[in-house]
């Protein structure tokens, strides 16, 4: 067995050192070439092409006119924590697991992009302001039905009824499939690390973190196809794990949860 937390921390520190150059730029969040900041352009040129390895895939989307989607430093909602979160996370994946991952870059795709289907694990953030088109909803439904796995992060009701917005669009994508609370002993919490979900404290303080999921055929014994970190934001920890903003223990739990999601998504 792996050497537990000690080994993990070593890896974490290694990752922090490796990405030090990113922080040296002084910018808080770097979204490559976002002219106009509308976040609607294609990222084909910056995406790394399919090579059989695991690629971190971030879902790009539009926000609704009246939604709570926001731009921080001209950052679109879908790009929150990009790119440092995934860069740090991919280094952790590489150091802790045998997942053959592409660490040189990550991918950004819309849900109606055919390329999406080459990456069976997708990450989407800030879905309180998510406003997918019909094509994107159809693409997501097909993606998940074929075997895709969606990780949903940084969504909380303190900014409005974000849960309901996400649930509404998921109902469009997967009619009849319900968002249900995940049992804390679900396999996803034990696919690599054994995690007590209650120890994954949201970075914004105690805010009643909850885990929801959508199961194939609404059957909790079957495949989990969507995991939803409600009232939580694990990528926030990933992004700042090398900055000292958050306690290492909390960052560790966020990384461990992310690693579990990736291993689960590869095997279930």
């Amino acid at each position: 067995m792996i050497g537990g937390a000690t080994r993990f921390l070593v890896a974490l520190l290694f990752a922090g050192a490796a990405i030090g150059w990113v922080t040296s730029t002084g910018s808080r969040s770097i979204v490559p070439a976002l002219p106009g900041g509308d976040g609607l352009q294609s990222y084909d040129e910056t995406n790394s092409p399919y090579d059989g390895k695991y690629h971190f895939l971030r879902v790009q989307y539009d926000v609704g006119r009246r939604s709570s989607g926001f731009f921080r430093s001209r950052e679109p909602a879908w790009a929150h924590d990009y790119p440092r979160a995934e860069r740090n996370f991919l280094n952790i994946i590489k150091e802790t697991t045998f997942v053959d991952s592409q660490t040189e870059g990550s991918n950004i795709l819309r849900l109606n992009d055919p390329e999406l289907f080459k990456y069976p694990i997708a990450y989407i953030v800030e879905v309180g302001s998510w406003n997918p088109t019909d094509e994107e909803v159809a693409g997501l439904g097909t993606y998940l039905s074929k075997g895709g796995f969606l990780i949903v992060d940084d969504t909380r009701n303190e900014r409005g009824n974000e849960w309901a917005n996400f649930a509404y669009h998921m109902e469009r994508a997967l009619p009849g499939l319900l968002l249900v609370p995940l049992e804390h002993d679900h396999r996803v919490f034990d696919s690599f690390f054994r995690i007590d979900p209650l120890k994954v404290i949201p970075p914004y303080g105690p805010q009643n973190p909850q885990w929801y999921g959508i199961f194939e055929d609404n059957d909790p014994t079957k495949r989990l196809i969507v995991v939803f970190n409600f009232n939580n934001d694990i990528a926030e920890y990933w992004e700042y794990s090398d900055q000292g903003y958050y306690p290492i223990e909390l960052s560790n739990e966020a990384y461990k949860l992310g690693v579990n999601y990736i291993v689960y998504g590869h095997t279930h």
């Binding site: 792996i2 059989g52 045998f98 053959d100 055919p114 069976p120 074929k146 075997g147 590869h266 095997t267």
Partner: protein, 761 residues
């Protein structure tokens, strides 16, 4: 021709073949030759010294004719004769063996049955053949089909035998008549032996005993028009829900290149139908038909071609095969060296298959494993199996992207033995840790692989190529790559699938291996071997050299409802476990017998390490169709390790269940169940034409002769001359052969005619 010969030379050719030529003149041949020479010389001299108007040439011709004339006279005076050994009348026996099987009732094109020859020639009071034979020999009649025995008269024949065994018939007749002077055996049959007992041994015994066999072939050599459903190639046990690919061999005569339907029925329910294009006359065609069997248990699957208009024999259009549909879950171990999507999608593909238990051992990090679908917490507790007992619990092994150095040498040897000794199926998947890239060269497992490993790529980035996969010619006929499509659409189905990728450049299969899928792409210098397999020892190994077959499920170009990926993996894993032996396996030598026919039950017994066991206590529990139970001990055969055998005779008609249990020192080694169907068979209607070649062989090798009903009249005299038994030596004069007299007159007439033409008279 034979009659002309006999007219000219006084005796039939057989006499000259059998007899020794001699001259019977009382004085020495040399003296006569001297006199003849002197006379000849005198004749020639008289022509030479003659004076007249004749020329030298004319005198030479006349001298030649006169010399020949004198030579013929001398030959006659020498009293040429044949010394012949003939059997003594009424002091010898002849065994007459008559085919009593159903095929003797088949009618020829003229509407006359084969048995009518027997009736005419042997049962009729006016039969000349029987009279002549009876004059010379004491006759003993036998009938034969699957068994053979004495009968008092051919009138006892019933023609109800359901199969024919020529060798057994010859053995029985030879043994029964071994105590009497036997001139020969006469065998009247169509020669259609369907018991497959080799003839050679029986013929050698007859040769040693000096007993010639005279065969009389009845029936037509060709039955036309007729269609015959020959062999059916089908496994005796299949996993429930498996797609079956069955080959049926069809031969026709007289129907040309027409098409006929081939129908498959499971207990009177049609489960498949295929249109078959018939081949040229007498040339068998192999029809491939696909179907699934539902429900667990023994099944009787019938293949039939409806009778065609004008067809002479209809009962050779149907064949039934006994098959057991097994319902147990086949346990397959998939060891994957790195978390990758093949695991997820392969599990999804087979999750609905109740007969497959895909146990996944996923290495997620150094010495860290994730176990999926194990039976309990103890299974694979310490990672990959380290003993044969642990490994051999699985029926198949899938090795993913895991480097050879992960395993100990013992584990590598166990993997190789798993295939060669246990008979398991082994599937190698492509990946960074697989094949040459995973350092598998030089390991005990390398030779198990059906592909040739080249040197690993020296590119630090590794090899990577997109591959468009297409089935090879062999693949087009292999169930594992048909993807559920009709056979003529398989290529299209594969063309519709997206490209996948490989990191293992492999372009060569091992000798004896077969490539089923190949691939091409811009980054490939040589055609990629995508899927190949080979038999290895008792098992088989398969290589799938791509790394992301999951794209056939996930890719945007593949419709959501497309089942290609699921079907591919279900078929692949079913193929992998197909035919993998159990520790105890029972099988009967025939899947169908007739009530009362002996059946050989053979059981192979091994322990959990698949080492053959010779000291086991093996018991067969045989349950008849009416529920009667009989328990029989099954004994070690001694000839082969782990092989046990017993013979039994089912008497009831219907389905017998045979359950075999093996134990050693009170420990159960295993058990197995097999089924046997008892019913009368239609074998006599298959290959029912006259087998002249077989009958000629029997006659030739024993010193007898082959006849047809048309020329059988010479049989009595032929036996007299060629037969064995009590014989006497006869001297037959040849000097009065008509041929010599005709020759004499011809020579005299020729000289006279020559003189007339030349005006020398």
């Amino acid at each position: 021709m034979e009659r002309i010969f006999e007219f000219l030379f006084k005796y039939p050719p057989l006499f000259f073949e059998q007899g020794d030529f001699t001259f019977g003149a009382p004085t020495s041949v040399r003296l006569w030759l001297i006199i003849a020479g002197l006379l000849g010389a005198g004749t020639v001299a008289s022509y030479t010294i003659a004076r007249g108007k004749s020329t030298v040439t004319e005198r030479s011709v006349m001298a030649g004719l006169r010399v020949m004339l004198l030579a013929v006279i001398i030959v006659c005076l020498l009293q040429p004769s044949l010394i012949l050994s003939t059997v003594v009348p009424q002091q010898n026996f002849v065994g007459i063996l008559i085919d009593d099987s159903q095929s003797m009732l088949l009618t020829d094109e003229n509407g006359i049955s084969r048995s009518s020859f027997v009736n005419d020639a042997f049962t009729s009071d006016e039969s000349e053949l029987v009279r002549q034979l009876s004059d010379r020999f004491a006759l003993r009649f036998f009938r034969f089909s699957d068994v053979a025995g004495r009968i008092d008269s051919p009138a006892e024949l019933t023609y109800e035998g359901t199969h024919t065994n020529l060798a057994r018939a010859l053995d029985v007749a030879r043994e029964e008549l071994s105590g009497v002077p036997l001139s020969g055996l006469v065998m009247i049959t169509d020669g259609a032996d369907n018991d497959n007992q080799p003839l050679a041994e029986s013929l050698v015994s007859l040769q040693a005993a000096g007993v010639p066999v005279f065969t009389v072939g009845v029936g037509e050599e060709t039955i036309a028009p007729d269609i015959e459903l020959g062999r059916i190639e089908m496994p005796r046990a299949v996993l429930e829900g498996s797609s079956l690919t069955v080959d049926a061999v069809i031969t026709q005569m007289g129907f040309g290149s027409s098409t006929v339907p081939l129908i498959v029925e499971d207990e009177l329910r049609i489960i498949a139908e295929e249109t078959v294009e018939l081949g040229p006359d007498r040339e068998p065609v192999v029809a491939r038909i696909y179907f699934e069997l539902e429900g667990v248990g023994p099944r009787r699957v019938t293949f039939r071609i409806p009778p065609q208009p004008g067809e002479r024999v209809n009962r050779n259009n149907t064949r039934s095969v006994q098959v057991e549909v097994r319902g147990e879950r086949e346990k397959v171990l998939y060891f994957e060296g790195e978390p990758r999507f093949e695991v997820k999608f392969m599990r999804r593909a087979v999750q609905e298959d109740e007969n497959i238990q895909l146990v996944v051992l996923q290495r997620t990090a150094e010495s860290k494993f994730l176990r999926l679908d194990v039976d309990d917490g103890n299974e694979l507790e310490f990672g990959f199996p380290t003993s044969r007992e642990e490994m051999y619990r699985y029926r198949a092994l899938i090795l993913g992207s895991v480097e050879a150095s992960f395993f100990t040498h013992d584990q590598l040897q166990i993997i190789a033995d798993f295939v060669s000794e246990r008979g398991g199926g082994l599937l190698f998947l492509g990946g960074h840790g697989a094949f040459a890239e995973g350092g598998w060269q030089g390991t005990p497992v390398e030779e198990v692989m059906p592909v040739v490993l080249g040197p690993p790529t020296d590119d630090p980035q590794g090899f990577f190529a997109e591959v468009k996969v297409t089935p090879t010619q062999a693949g087009l006929a292999h169930p594992s790559v048909l993807l559920g499509a009709e056979q003529d659409q398989v290529r299209e189905r594969w063309n519709s699938l997206p490209t996948v990728t490989t990191v293992n450049p492999i372009s060569q299969v091992r000798p004896g291996a077969t490539a089923l899928l190949s691939g091409s792409g811009d980054q490939l210098a040589l055609e990629q071997i995508v899927l190949a397999f080979q038999r290895y020892g008792r098992g088989k190994s398969i290589a799938l050299t791509i790394q992301d077959s999951w794209l056939w499920q996930m890719h945007a170009d593949v419709p959501l409802e497309d089942q290609s990926h699921e079907i591919f993996w279900q078929q692949m894993i079913r193929w992998l476990v197909d035919g993998v032996p159990e520790a105890v396996e029972a099988v009967t030598d025939q899947e169908q017998v007739e009530p009362g026919e002996n059946v050989q039950l053979v059981t192979n017994v091994s322990d959990s390490s698949y080492i053959e066991v010779n000291n086991a206590t093996v018991t067969a529990r045989i349950t008849s169709p009416t529920g009667m139970v009989e328990e029989l001990p099954v004994d070690w055969t001694v000839q082969r390790d782990g092989e046990y055998s017993v013979e039994f005779r089912p008497l009831e008609e219907g389905e017998y269940e045979v359950e075999v249990t093996a134990e050693r020192n009170g420990e159960i080694l295993g058990s197995d169940k097999t089924y046997l169907y008892t019913a009368s068979r239609d074998d006599e209607y298959f290959s029912a034409s006259r087998h002249t070649q077989t009958l000629r062989r029997i006659a030739d090798e024993t010193g007898g002769l082959f006849y047809t009903p048309e020329d059988v009249s010479s049989l009595p005299e032929d036996i007299r001359v060629t037969g064995a038994g009590v014989t006497l030596v006869e001297e037959l004069d040849l000097w009065d052969m008509p041929f010599l007299f005709i020759l004499l007159l011809t020579l005299m007439g020729a000289e006279w005619g020559f003189r007339r033409i030349r005006g020398l008279i």
